[in-house]
């Protein structure tokens, strides 16, 4: 009641007059074809019910398709190619079943439901001046009663308590797990680790790798470690690629004689966000990452020549063992893969 009382000089008569004025300003109501032509109305009625019935049929067909079509059956559909019959049948029937209910409802409301214009008066959203003054007055009264302004020690201690309260939430973030410690700095590579092909697991002789060749490789103990640990963590760090170029094409390396006769070993993990990276252009010696197009020049210390990676690709020093197979001279000199908080600059 009170809000109505506050409306400026509103009476039932005024409201009726306002509605009348608004109605007069409206364009003339044009009846739809379905309003004046009973035939059109019946046709619309049929269309709506057909859509609803169509939906019902599709639902039944969905169940039929679910039962009748084997999941591994393929079918050729023009424009789509060879597709899984069950998948397509289920998708089409279910999609149409739900779409036709919606479409029927829209068609029904547009063609047949009453479309008479309704006029509803709005009033200003702001409260009246008296209400606002009363609210300010009440706030001041209660503020004075509480003594918030007069008792600074209470005010300040309360503010201190509230300011400190969120700290436990931040401290608990620390409890999400142990710090990585050395895990991110260590890989399986150590002096003498034999290099084997990934995924076929054969040791590699220098002569196996042609000029312009590429091998995805891993340390020889990786398959066993992977089986023991039951995850891919060791592989995610130790994966490398071997490439071979003419020795005179090598501009620089990360260490003296880290190659073996033009064969270079680099970490396969991009230093940006750790995608496996092996788009090797054998003529430019550029290695591209498929995720964000970071590009490394393997002939020049694996330095970044393009893209978002901030650091060069770590190189693995290699040589051969007495049996003539390629081995690592040492582990990686720097952490492989993307940056992490505790990494430092090294």
């Amino acid at each position: 009641m009170s809000t109505h009382d506050n409306l400026p000089a509103t009476t039932a008569g005024d409201e009726a007059a306002a509605i009348e004025a608004a109605a007069a300003a409206l364009p003339a109501h044009k009846p739809r074809r379905t309003d004046v032509d009973p035939k059109a109305a019946r046709r619309a009625e049929r269309q709506v019910s057909l859509m609803f019935l169509g939906s019902a049929v599709m639902t039944v067909l969905f169940v039929v398709a679910f039962v009748a079509i084997p999941v591994d059956e393929s079918v050729y559909i023009w424009g789509f190619g060879t597709v899984n019959a069950s998948n397509i049948a289920l998708g089409v029937t279910f999609g149409l079943a739900i779409f036709l209910i919606g479409a029927g409802a829209i068609h029904w409301s547009k063609k047949l439901m009453n479309e008479k214009e309704e006029i509803q008066l709005r009033h200003s959203l702001a409260s009246t001046d008296e209400d606002r003054e009363a609210a300010v007055e009440a706030f001041d009264d209660y503020s004075a009663d509480s003594g918030f302004a007069q008792r600074p020690i209470i005010r300040r201690s309360l503010l201190t308590a509230m300011a400190l309260f969120p700290i436990p939430l931040i401290v608990m973030l620390r409890d999400l797990g142990p710090l990585p410690e050395e895990i991110l700095r260590e890989t399986l590579w150590k002096p003498g680790s034999r290099i084997i092909t990934d995924p076929t697991g054969r040791p590699v002789r220098p002569s196996d790798l042609a000029i312009g060749g590429l091998i995805s490789a891993m340390p020889a103990d990786l398959p066993l470690v992977q089986e023991e640990e039951g995850n891919l963590n060791a592989r995610a760090k130790a994966a490398i690629i071997l490439v071979r170029m003419e020795p005179q094409e090598i501009v620089s390396q990360q260490g003296d004689n880290w190659d073996y006769g033009g064969i270079l070993a680099f970490s396969k993990i991009c230093t940006h966000v750790g995608c496996p990276i092996a788009l090797y252009e054998q003529r430019t010696h550029h290695l591209l990452c498929p995720c964000h197009q970071s590009t490394f020049d393997l002939a020049d210390s694996g330095n970044v020549v393009f893209g978002p990676a901030a650091r060069r690709l770590p190189q693995l020093p290699i040589t051969i063992d007495p049996e003539g197979f390629l081995v690592a001279t040492d582990g990686f000199a720097e952490p492989v893969g993307p940056s992490f908080w505790e990494r430092g600059d090294a």
Partner: protein
Amino acid sequence: MKKRSRRRSFGAGILMGGALLLAGSGYAVVNAETTPSPEPIAAEGSVEQIQVGRQLFLEGCSSCHGLEGQGIEADNATGGNGGPSLIGVGEAAVDFQVSTGRMPLAVPEAQAARKPPTYSQAEIDAMAAYIATLGPGPANPTEEELDLEDANIAEGGEIFRTNCTQCHNFAGSGGALTNGQYAPSLMDATPEQIWQALVTGPQQMPVFSNETITPEEKKNLIAYIESLKVEPNNGGLALGRLGPVTEGLFLWTAGLLSLIAVAIWIGAKVR
């Protein structure tokens, strides 16, 4: 005069090669039993075949690769066309480049594209035989090596995912490299061409020699790629099997447009 007669025999070779291809034979291998004399292009590895190959090379290739296949440096001053040396590239490289239509190059650009081959298989074999005499290089696979009957497709898939997907995409649809270059789709490549590409490393592709991926593993790998070609699109419209890029584009265009169309229908005035 001798040269002319060789030309004539070579012309008959084209006809014979074309006829054999039309007959559905994948390889227009000249067979003494089915071809009456005179032989169009002489027997595999014969001096005659090499001579025909050299003739074809001089006519079609030497302007870029040099009269002795030694290569020509690109040079505007001398008009050098800049073709690499073919010494030691082997018959596999010739067969791959010419049978995929990449050579002869139509126009120098970032990358030679696949197009219908200019030469018949018999001519390609002759050119390959000639180039093979310039220096030892990767050979073509034997029929046995390409017998995919008992191949291990699962192992081939592992090799594919480790060595090929980075450039050629998880479904072999190809992908972009730098400076307008790209890794082509593998869907048009024949088993023999895949093998040849592996052992020769055409353009920017690294070499995967028979020591790094053994012939047995190559067979498995090729069988896997062949299985990709006939793999049904279980998810429906494949959109080039390119993953999120085309799928996103499709949703943002066709998907959004159809939503807008429905919204317009809902809001449209009824007459």
